[in-house]
């Protein structure tokens, strides 16, 4: 169970500044990514799941900035690297980006340029991280395209991104992310823009790659189905905090945070009975700039304890294997 941890996030805080005050996009987020395992991060809009991904890669743009915490690469080595201490454009950070941590986007077109062939872009990504001759890099690119299941890679390497279907583009996006042979892969809603049969193919591909390469995968999604299908461990986020972590089976069988419970009951299911109603969560996710005091979920929480939830912030989730919930109810039960 205790695979090597390759990336440890500790108390990460990210703030966005605006004239109306600071928006705390992330507020004390901690988790570990382990080799060969998939951490699913799930949450609704504004929960900070994408900000987390971007801060690991140091891609947070002004007016946002990391205001606290650590992002430790190789935390079990004697001298781990703290990515928050590196300059976003430093040489070391550029090596990490792509070389250690690959990123897969929701819409691969954002990672691909429309003006260059797929091959050009992958070859360039390969050369950035490896000292190869041009010919070797091309062979490597073709191998990568084959690896991600693109038919006729020798031919497709000369295609432009717009000539490819959404599914093939996402495969190219994955090949790009793999070009630097990273051992950590961050996939930010990798299948949200895809059709359901294509989604199934891409998820299968990610699983296969992870198995073959022992990659630590951080999968960001809003889809509980994708989580159930893919994740080993799950972190549920709400308004910039992790409210619950758990092994996937336990999360679905016995969720400990009221938000997780409510969310799971609100998800439409392909197994529903005809005209089956869903339980709902009242209200809507507030703007991250208007985070309620105390436990930020309390105004929507059906189980809230009143005064205490309004005033006090529950302790963050424990960092052990079994996870837990950041909720007074869970604390009291323990």
């Amino acid at each position: 169970m205790a695979e090597r941890s390759v990336l440890s996030i500790r108390d990460l805080a990210v703030q966005f500044r605006s004239e109306q005050g600071t928006v705390r996009a992330l507020d004390g987020v901690s988790f570990d990514l382990r080799a060969g395992r998939t951490l699913g991060i799930v949450g609704e809009s504004g929960c900070g799941k994408s900000v987390t991904a971007r801060s690991i890669l140091r891609l947070i743009d002004w007016p946002g900035r990391i205001t606290g915490g650590q992002i430790l690469l190789d935390p079990e080595e004697p001298q781990p690297t703290d990515l928050t201490a590196l300059g976003p454009e430093s040489r070391r950070m550029r090596e990490v980006r792509g070389g250690r941590v690959g990123l897969i986007f929701q819409e691969p077109m954002t990672a691909l340029s429309a003006h260059y062939t797929v091959g050009n872009q992958i070859i360039e990504a390969v050369l950035q991280h490896r000292d190869l001759s041009k010919a070797d890099a091309k062979a490597q690119a073709i191998a990568l395209l084959g690896e991600v299941g693109i038919p006729h890679p020798q031919r497709r390497i000369d295609a432009y991104p717009f000539e490819l279907s959404g599914g093939l583009r996402q495969r190219v996006g994955i090949a790009m992310a793999l070009a630097g042979d990273p051992d950590i892969l961050i996939a930010d809603e990798p299948t949200t823009a895809l059709d359901v049969t294509t989604q199934a193919q891409i998820l299968g591909l990610l699983q296969r790659l992870q198995r073959e390469k022992g990659i630590a995968l951080m999968l960001i999604t809003h889809d509980m189905g994708v989580i159930a299908e893919m994740a080993d461990e799950v972190a549920v986020m709400y308004l910039g905090r992790i409210v619950e972590t758990a092994p996937v089976a336990r999360l679905f069988a016995a969720p400990r945070h009221p938000y997780t419970r409510a969310l799971l009951r609100a998800v439409p299911s392909i197994l529903a009975t005809p005209r089956q109603r869903l339980s709902t969560i009242g209200g809507a996710v507030p703007h991250p700039g208007l985070r309620p005091g105390g436990c930020s979920f309390h105004p929507r929480c059906a189980e809230n304890l009143g005064e205490r939830c309004r005033r006090e912030v529950p302790a963050p989730v424990p960092l052990n294997e079994d996870g837990g919930a950041s909720c007074f109810l869970a604390e009291d039960a323990a």
């Binding site: 189905g225 989580i227 409510a262 005809p274």
Partner: protein, 332 residues
Amino acid sequence: MNLLEVADLKKHFPIRAGLLRREVGQVRAVDGVSFHIAAGETLALVGESGCGKTTVSRCILRAQRATSGAIRFMPEDGRVVDLATIPKRELRPLRRHVQMIFQDPYASLNPRMMVGDIIAEPLKVNGVPAAERRARVLELLELVQLPASARTRFPHAFSGGQRQRIGIARALALNPRLVVADEPVSALDVSVQAQIINLLLDLQDRLRLSMLFVAHDLSVVRHVSDRVAVMYVGRMAEVAPTDALYRSPRHPYTEALLAAVPAPDPGRRGRRAPVAGEVADPARPPPGCAFHPRCPYAVDRCRVERPELREVEPGRWASCHRAQELSLAGVT
């Protein structure tokens, strides 16, 4: 007769090329689609991108003109019009009977109008007097569970889910016979999505609403629809009552589609093998059955002969040569 009967609907878009914009081919976005909607019934039109479901709904709303085929609609009892061919002048008074719920709750409300005016607009342009309009707006706000004070506020004050409620109130203002809902919950957060699904279920019960529910999310569809029509590359693959379709699909594409949906249950993991290949290009559909290159059950006949949609058992239609002999897996 049913409220709506679509018969052999076709919509072809020309592909033009060259300096003279000569037509060099056609995209058969919709290529002979037939289905019906009975009064009080919700039919879901599902399929992957490019299958033609949006084009079908646009033809019904006459946002696009069908190339051929009939869209027989019953605006009031005993009267039937063909929405595919009716002249524009006669169409306008009929518009009130077919209304739409949009996908994007941000784009579908005019940011410069107060919510009360937005909901009242269909009433106003159809000549409902001001006092009556006011009462009806309040009634509609209550129906979609928004406070009466929403009337004097602008859309920017509302969240995505609340805006979708406003859009629904507007669509219902004229008591339309048919509501076309185009992916009405796909832009919403999970927790809000559930609220809107429940609201639609409520409205179906209370108003005996007839609805064409265009969606790609098979989970949502299972909650809200009475029957499901599955489209693939411009043609109808299967039409069946919802529960029957999910339990025992009769078309291999339906089976593949159902298998691809990840269920929110880690215990079901690994049960499915994703269908191979990509959705065919509607500009160059494969010969025979468009699904045959991806179909694990395809036989020689499927490669040459195009299967027609036929009734495989009472109330169930499928366009598959082997519909009778295959036993396909559903989800239960």
